[in-house]
């Protein structure tokens, strides 16, 4: 080898370690500002119990705060499961199944530097459940207590252990607790010195919050924007990769799309299905994944409702052309064949297989006495828009047209979203139902209470909860009780699967669609994980420099 070649080879070999060092995984460097256009018309509340539905939890809950238990949002291949958050382990007291013991994570600090401990947990439970507590906030009650229906109180066992008490044995509590975010008591007390009332203090806290989450709030302009910076001291791994997150309320879908296409934002929630081809053509990334969300018709089971007949309910489930509906939405839905999709731990093994089979639907309708001579007339209460309602007018009109071939005449009673969910609490016997045989309110199926129990348990009939159709079957009450009393996760999932399967067999809903949580992003956004969940983890995405 000539000296010249030897020199070249040595130089190449010398460069190799440098190249290796440059490409090896090292500590993650924070990158860029991500500007997100939300669907909300206002910034969701930032005091620790967000409003505006799950979009609130997604953007002003999880990034700023943590809960005792959390959703695993790190992958999108399987349904999200509950994992340890600020609690590392939990179990029910074998001698008193209304008492749960939660062991707390050590070394966690709030953004203001104060320590997270058992006192903080008790304080946060009292803020919504103890009317005598000085920091009790009625505004947070509605946003929290509703999602933890059996939790009654908390008690400190030691600095790193708390006992939580429920009104009845309830194996669903650890799932419910993903909704109780831990705010800093020390920070609140400091603000209380400067404000005359607890309400004013909570408002000050909302403008200057302190949680334990992966981001800290840096700027808050009411109704316009909220900005976060990454929390380098976050207790969990990985830490946030984006340096800064800017959240902007842009309620109008076309305005969101235009903002993304003109480069004013990097990420938009829920682009209109019509805009997706254009977004793709302009190089935008479209993310979607099946969500624990159900877009159904919920039947009325009392009075002269034709949906009292299981044959009619099954026929409607078989008659709906879900693939056609999917085309209408540019692919932005997953056909629903139950409350959860097949393969989910709560799917079970229903014997009634929901599919599109118009011949069988026609046969079942004929058996129930409906056909060309005696059409089935249905009245369904729907909204023209609304959170989680997808494209209610277009979707319902598609179904209306589709069902006409089976001599099913559907009449819609269109009300606004606020009215629809007020009516949902009143039940189908109430005057507000105006004779509707079904109601079209979408719901979350992430938590078994909200996805199954409140519809199938006869005690959940209005005004208690959302069993709008007054469904009442002791067999289902027993299945609910079994699920609530199964404290091992596997046994609980098996009990929930039996409940889900029984619901499908009885066709207790007309299941139509699952939302896919569509979001569009600029090609500069990297690292985003789209889980099978309503929430996302903002620690993952970053801006490609």
């Amino acid at each position: 080898m000539s000296p010249r070649r030897r020199l070249l080879l040595s130089a190449c070999l010398g460069v190799l370690p440098l190249l290796a060092a440059a490409t090896a995984p090292g500590p993650v460097r924070a990158q860029g500002t991500i500007r997100i256009g939300m669907t909300a018309a206002d910034i969701p509340l930032t005091h620790g119990q967000p409003d505006q539905g799950f979009e609130g939890n997604r953007f002003t809950g999880i990034p700023l705060y943590d809960s005792l238990t959390m959703w695993d949002l790190s992958q999108g291949e399987r349904p999200s499961t509950v994992i340890p958050g600020l609690a590392t382990e939990w179990s029910v007291d074998p001698n008193d199944r209304t008492r749960w013991i939660f062991r707390l994570r050590r070394g966690v600090r709030f953004h203001d530097g104060s320590a997270f401990d058992a006192d903080a947990v008790v304080w946060n439970v009292r803020k919504v459940l103890d009317r005598e507590a000085p920091h009790y906030d009625p505004r947070q009650v509605g946003l929290t207590a509703t999602r933890m229906p059996t939790l009654r109180r908390a008690e400190k066992v030691d600095d790193h252990t708390v006992a939580l008490y429920t009104s009845e044995p309830d194996s669903l509590l650890p799932i419910n607790l993903t909704n109780l975010f831990m705010a800093s008591p020390a920070h609140w007390e400091r603000l209380r010195q400067q404000h005359p009332t607890a309400e004013a203090t909570w408002n000050a806290f909302a403008a200057n919050p302190s949680g334990t989450g992966p981001f800290r709030m840096a700027r808050f302009v009411p109704r316009e924007r909220v900005e976060y910076v990454r929390n380098p001291d976050y207790w969990g791994e990985p830490k946030a990769r984006a340096e800064r997150i800017v959240l902007l309320p842009i309620p109008e879908p076309n305005a969101r799309t235009a903002a993304l296409l003109s480069g004013q934002v990097d990420w938009i929630e829920a682009p209109a299905p019509d805009a997706v081809p254009q977004l793709r053509a302009r190089g935008m990334q479209i993310f979607q994944n099946v969500q624990p969300h159900v877009w159904p018709w919920q039947p009325c089971f009392v009075g002269d409702s034709p949906l009292r007949d299981v044959r009619v309910r099954r026929a409607l489930n078989l008659a709906i052309d879900r693939e056609g509906l999917k085309q209408l939405l540019n692919g932005m839905m997953v056909p629903a064949v139950g409350t959860v999709p097949p393969g989910h731990p709560w799917w079970g093994n229903p014997s009634f297989r929901i599919r599109t089979d118009k011949a069988e639907a026609r046969r079942l309708l004929a058996e129930a006495g409906y056909g060309p001579q005696r059409p089935l007339n249905l009245r369904v209460q729907i909204s023209a828009s609304g959170s989680g309602q997808m494209q209610p007018l277009a979707m319902n009109e598609f179904i209306q047209q589709d069902l006409r071939s089976l001599h099913v005449n559907v009449e819609f009673d269109v009300v606004d979203w606020n009215t629809l969910f007020t009516n949902w609490r009143q039940g189908c016997q109430h005057a507000t139902a105006r004779g509707a045989h079904a109601i079209n309110v979408s719901y979350s199926a992430m938590d078994p209470f909200f996805g199954l129990v409140r519809f199938y348990d006869s005690r959940m009939a209005p005004p208690v909860s959302n069993n709008w159709g007054h469904f009442n079957d002791p067999r289902f009450d027993r299945l609910v009780a079994e699920a609530r009393n199964a404290f091992e996760p596997e046994a609980r999932d098996a009990a929930l699967a039996r409940l889900q399967a029984a619901g499908v067999d009885e066709a207790l809903f007309i299941w139509i669609a699952h939302d896919v949580g569509p979001r569009a992003m600029s090609p500069r956004v990297r690292g985003h994980v789209q889980p099978q969940n309503w929430f996302v983890d903002l620690r993952y995405p970053y801006i490609q420099q």
């Binding site: 018309a41 509605g142 316009e224 003109s262 606004d416 909860s465």
Partner: protein
């Protein structure tokens, strides 16, 4: 004049009461429930009732209205049910933003309207007249939310010349009169200006044409007055009626256009009302409508006084 002023100010009191009452009753009569601003759709009945008690929404309607009225009399518009912030804090920011947009749209619309209307009235029957009338008819006929979306598609999405939404790169709180911020104002102001432009064009055209046919104009011309001199006389005679129309239009613009502000995510009173309506946020709704109604009353009074100043023949006694 002072007596007239006092009388007009006193008229505002029953107007305020009527506006507050009608708004309160409309929200109560409308389907839906103000409690939905605070509790989610899936809240159990027990929690809903507890929160309703906590907020005093379980009290009889006259009591609720009385409490609100007593607070308003002390200058307290209450707190938003949804956010807990004072209504005034949100409303004052929103009014400032709407004022910025309304004044920009008014300047544009009124200037164009006066110029087009003046030319059309002076040269009636000409091509210029037909163009001006066409522009005026288009201005009042085109739905401005549609126009807004078209402008966004052309100037933001395709050409990337102007921003599509928002009130500045950092929000309205750090608004400055530089191009970085003002460019956010261009598209919403143009969109909002088309209706006042159309109305003012038609009004000015009609008034100018009528004045031009009057004998005093012929006399002025006969006396050898220059075209500029005749023009000034016509302007002075047309001003009071034009001013009245402009005052009304400015009032409408100040009310904030719900549609235009929503299309451009402009954080003004229109967007505030939009979210308050959907959330049934009663205190925000009542407070905003009351303040806007009072603004309208004040604006009408100001226009009346200006009309008197411009034309002493209009007496206010």
């Amino acid at each position: 004049m002072i007596r007239y002023l006092i009388r007009r100010i006193l008229y505002a009191v029953p107007i305020a009461l009527a506006v507050g009452f009608v708004c309160f009753m409309l929200v109560q009569i409308a389907p839906g429930d103000p409690i939905n601003a605070i509790v989610p759709a899936d809240a159990p009945g027990e929690v809903v009732e507890q929160v309703r008690r906590d907020y005093g929404l379980d009290r009889p309607l006259p009591v609720q209205f009385g409490i609100w009225l007593a607070k308003v009399a002390q200058g307290d518009l209450g707190r938003s049910l949804a956010t807990g912030r004072t209504v005034w804090s949100d409303l004052s920011t929103a009014i400032g933003n709407t004022l910025t947009l309304a004044v920009a749209a008014a300047l544009l619309g009124f200037t164009l309207g006066c110029v087009l209307g003046g030319l059309a009235g002076t040269f009636r029957g000409s091509l210029l007249d037909r163009v001006a009338v066409g522009a005026a008819v288009a201005g009042v006929s085109v739905p401005h939310y549609w126009l807004g979306m078209v402008l966004v598609v052309i100037f933001s999405v395709q050409l990337n010349w102007l921003p599509a939404m928002g009130a500045g790169p950092g929000g309205s709180s750090d608004w400055a009169w530089d191009w970085e911020h003002v460019q956010h104002l261009v598209l919403p102001a143009v969109t909002l200006s088309v209706i006042p432009m159309g109305i003012v064009t038609r009004t000015v055209r009609g008034i100018v044409a009528e004045i031009m046919n009057q004998e005093f104009v012929v006399a002025l011309r006969g006396k050898g007055l220059t075209r500029r001199g005749v023009f000034l006389h016509v302007v002075k005679n047309a001003a009071p009626n034009t001013l009245a129309v402009m005052g009304l239009q400015l009032g409408y613009l100040m009310g904030g256009s719900i549609l235009v502000e929503t299309v451009f995510s402009w954080p003004g009173t229109g967007l505030l009302l939009n979210s308050a309506i959907f959330q049934r946020d009663l205190p925000v709704l009542q407070g905003t409508i009351l303040v806007l109604a009072m603004f309208f009353v004040a604006l009408n009074l100001a226009v009346d006084l200006m009309q008197t100043a411009l034309d002493p023949r209009i007496r206010r006694a």
